[in-house]
């Protein structure tokens, strides 16, 4: 009798697993065919490092591409300026191992792969950050189950060859900077902020993300940033290489400043 129940329970479990796994139906195969092929390695245009870790692109080029200021309302403009002043010293002592959304798309040296399936597009970054963008029609997590993470909760849909993404519940992204010589602009948004992206391939080897930051509390209007990612076509590298901060990190933060630890 007992073994009968076990067989029944096992059968139910197998049925549940089977129902959660999309079968390779003709419809699913057709869906695959309609999706773009974004295979390969991608890297953001404008933050391509050379062997020294510096950008290959010129400072003028980067300034022209990146400098801008969020359209704050007066209250949040003041808050942003206050934070900018407060972080002017702190950033020197900050390390970043997790970029999160939207920084991983806006300004990150991490390479990524984009794995496109009918149910989900996964963006896998060299720092082992992964964005899961569900395109199977599910909604966001319900409010009573939602909590902020570095990557938030992303759902999307396809408009032709354009992946449209809505992301909510993004935890405070890690603040980092590369040099304080030219100053930096700090963006500060409310807990109401959410992100809308339109990712498409604008050229054979060029993806583009139009990322709109929507925050009715801090911004007078939605604010859109455009970023591009070029396919890594490079004889020196043909696969994803692991990056992390779990290795031999010799740059501890001491008294709020980055230091360099000499070998013992």
């Amino acid at each position: 009798m007992r073994s009968g129940w076990m067989v029944l329970a096992l059968s139910a479990l197998l049925a549940a697993v089977a129902s959660a796994t999309p079968p390779n139906t003709r419809q699913r195969i057709q869906s695959f065919r309609s999706l773009p092929n974004w295979s390969g390695l991608w890297q953001q245009v404008g933050v391509t490092p050379d062997a020294t870790g510096e950008t290959v692109e010129s400072a003028e080029e980067l300034r022209a591409g990146f400098l801008a200021h969020p359209p704050y309302n007066p209250e949040w403009e003041a808050r942003a300026r206050e934070l900018q002043g407060a972080t002017a010293d702190q950033v020197v002592g900050h390390t970043t191992c997790t970029w999160g959304v939207p920084m991983v798309m806006v300004q990150s040296p991490l390479m990524f792969e984009a794995l496109v399936t009918p149910e989900e597009t996964a963006m896998i970054f060299s720092g082992r950050e992964i964005r899961h963008i569900y395109t199977d029609g599910r909604g966001h997590l319900s409010r009573d189950r939602l909590f902020p993470t570095h990557w938030g909760d992303s759902i999307g849909h396809w408009e032709g060859q354009v992946l449209v993404i809505e992301t909510i519940a993004v935890d405070s992204p890690t603040i980092f900077e590369w040099d304080s010589a030219g100053g930096q602009l700090v963006g500060l948004f409310s807990d109401q902020v959410h992100y809308r992206e339109r990712i498409t391939r604008v050229e054979k080897d060029l993806l583009q993300d139009e990322l709109t930051i929507i925050d009715p509390v801090s911004l007078t209007r939605p604010w859109t940033l455009t970023r591009q990612y070029h396919r890594v076509v490079n004889p020196y590298i043909d696969r994803m290489i692991h990056e992390d901060c779990e290795g031999r990190d010799r740059n501890p933060v001491v008294n709020g400043k980055i230091t360099l630890q000499q070998p013992e």
């Binding site: 990146f66 930096q184 020196y236």
Partner: protein, 141 residues
């Protein structure tokens, strides 16, 4: 505190943009180095530390006060591989002349700029071929 109220009290700081002149891309600021100055070190490699998050060349440099060990910080293995480097491009015992951006505190450390052998041959592999796309005007609208 409910999830909703926890969300409501949170403020989301985000560093959106940076002035990138003299910048280095890494998991931390390179402001500890003086990017406006360069110094040449001639020495012998003690160890090439090929590891995340950043690689280091440990260089033994003979000076007036005896031999000193210098730590020369590079970027991550991924970005070095991308530029033709590998974990065995430099090895213990190699005699090198290394140019660095020195650390600001005056210690025996710096950020890697370039290196050559004592007979003048550069050790940096040639940059990968191919045209890089221009940075799009995407500052915000």
């Amino acid at each position: 505190m409910t999830t909703k109220s926890a969300l409501a009290v949170r403020v989301v700081p985000l560093l959106v943009l940076f002035a990138l002149a003299d910048s280095a891309l890494a998991h931390h600021s390179f402001a500890l180095f003086d990017f406006k100055s360069e110094r040449e070190l001639e020495g012998t490699v003690k160890e090439f530390q090929w590891n995340n998050p950043h690689c280091f060349i440990q260089l033994l440099v003979a000076g007036g006060g005896g031999t000193q060990e210098w730590s020369i910080e590079m970027t991550s293995p991924l970005h070095l591989l991308q530029n033709g480097w590998g974990p065995r491009l430099v090895k213990a015992g190699d005699a090198l002349v290394v140019t660095i951006h020195p650390i600001r505190d005056g210690g025996h450390a710096g950020s890697y700029v370039r290196a050559r052998t004592r007979d003048g041959a550069p050790i940096d592999p040639p940059p990968p071929p191919g045209k890089r796309p221009a940075v799009p005007p995407g500052g915000g609208r």
